[in-house]
Symmetry: C4
Subunit: 212 residues, 4 copies
């Protein structure tokens, strides 16, 4: 069965990945709950309740932009990767398993950020999931480029090397965010914020930079 | 790395945007809750309970049609915009962040519209989110057309200018709806209803008019 | 602006519709709730609790197959309809508004079917929504074929006429189901079951028959 | 009406199936609930609560990888199946009905796995649904290949026969898992784990092996 080892094109893998990214990113909003009517005896109290949802807004913002960046980078990866095989498909499915898991740690973070005794564990958990996502992203990329396995033969090898170096920034930064969670929660969240913010600055957009 | 500044095509951006629009619009229904059995001791009470869900139906109607219009306009934008770049992708992701946020203010509005002390804050919040969405839509469009940055070289420049003027109606109207929320909630909602209704009248469909 | 009245192709409308259908059909499962642990003191009680979810399974079955049929028919419609315009897009958005609304009446039906005093209202509501969906489907089709407005010039006019007649079966049958809900709930549900079952019988698949 | 029996291409069926797979796989995360704040008086208790969610993580893992495998196999099926007809569409819709049902038994399993009196029923239910999914997958495949009904004329008939034999492993293994649930829950879950794990081992990937 030579078909089994055939290198097939990436079209449907890209479409499936796009679907999972689009759905995971849109499900994030479901974790923001409308304040119950009982809790808001008058209009001012509703405004207060809406303000107190700031951890939900913050979690939504960070996770949405992070998934948006991941999607853009996953998308642009296929400017270099032109073929697929069974193991590449598998690694992608495992990567997507963590992508579509993100709404859970986001909701956890939003729930426990205002709780002094819970925010450390929640921030560490959130950072750990993003660390695994960043590792997964590297695994997808490195499997494809190792020995030019699935690369477009015409791909610029220097650009590929540059991208490979840049992608290391992700796991490193999220590893730091994970460690910082045990020292100072806000310092850990600041790393997340900085990574999100880097996206806005073309000159320093680092590992995010291959986004098309 | 000339690739990084390359102007790439818009196909996957359109597909991703379509996905987010389709998911956000379909998630709206999840905010309509089945009346609990306890509350309805007999059939007539269920009918009453279903009638009392009118704010949920209204929110669903306004938000669905609004997202439908936004999708149609975003869609038709790409009859003029034929290229993409990193910043355009970024602005689109931020725009989609508010599009996929809409189920939350819709649920908030549906919950607090029957509550005299809460409806003002809820209507203002809902209008504010739509104001930001309309601003975001303008940002996407204006970034693409500024200095013909991402325009199809063959695009009709007069049509582009007309569209640019029309798109200002959105932020203006939603700004008015936001201000009116503090004066009279029903007047504010009337603006939303009128904007939705304009869609039905070809001669006056204003900023909605470039829908294909 | 001749562009505004231009007849554009249907590709993205089809993709957006497919998305809404696929999401609405998949969201149906969210309405089936896991029995709470408290309610099930031992294994036998969990089996009983799972059996008592039969209205949820039934609602899932009917709504899933109905949406599947609708999707197949909407899909096959575009073998004849080759163009689009602003009003066609609008009618489609309104049609999709009721398609993506279906999880709510499905959950309502599943909740109130075991409640003697509530099942009539729930069945009538469910039938009414499907009646409107069937009307909407006819509106989409009839707008496109009226005066050959958006038809493929090569479309077989006899086939179009046959389809137009067949599509009347939908609103008629759902209208009957709505009326029967006030006489006998089970008779009304039988009509839904028969319509679903017709799909399985090629010789009698009636208005469903143009599905490719 | 010769059109009704026409053999049409599979493009939109594939796209619709991809959508349902992508949505069902992403909805799995919604069944993992954030531990309520009341239950966690201090940070250590949150860590404990997060650990106690292991049945949810396990269910998510097994169901995600299983759906991923199913998607990959459904996907690769269309390297051999190049045409569609009414009944093939119907069988696919019924198959997808069970695919998109999977989040419910997954949540059931996660909820009742820690409950000694409930875990047997939950594991049996979960295995039964996967048994039906595997049967459905076989039905889709066998309908298409029976008498070369919808096969690409150029398809390798030996490969088709090999795949047909391999696909029998699915219903067999899930049937065994179902039976084992009544003997020993953990043995039943081990079968699920082994099936998931086989995916990782190319030499033994059995019925999973036609994945592209």
């Amino acid at each position: 069965m030579t078909r089994r080892t055939a290198l097939t094109s990436t079209t449907r893998l890209e479409a499936f990945s796009d679907g999972v990214f689009a759905i995971a990113i849109t499900l994030l909003v479901l974790e923001i709950r409308v304040p119950p009517i009982q809790a808001t005896a008058n209009g001012r109290e509703l405004v207060t309740a809406l303000r107190e949802l700031w951890p939900s807004y913050l979690g939504y913002l960070i996770s949405f932009v992070t998934l948006g960046i991941m999607w853009a980078n996953h998308h642009s990866m296929f400017r270099y990767v032109h073929r697929s095989n069974f193991h590449f498909l598998l690694i992608n499915v495992l990567f997507l398993m963590f992508i579509s898991f993100l709404p859970f740690p986001t909701a956890l973070l939003a729930t426990y950020l205002p709780v002094p005794d819970g925010r450390q564990a929640a921030t560490a958990f959130y950072s750990a999931v993003l660390f695994v996502i960043a590792l997964g992203f590297n695994a997808v990329w490195r499997y494809a480029v190792h020995g030019d396995r699935l690369l477009d033969p015409a791909a610029d090898r220097e650009a590929v090397k540059t991208i490979s170096r840049r992608y290391l920034i992700g796991p490193t930064a999220y590893g730091v965010a994970f460690g910082l969670a045990f020292v100072n929660v806000w310092a850990s969240l600041a790393v997340h914020g900085i990574l999100t913010g880097l996206f806005l600055v073309p000159e320093h957009r680092g590992w995010l930079s291959s986004g098309a």
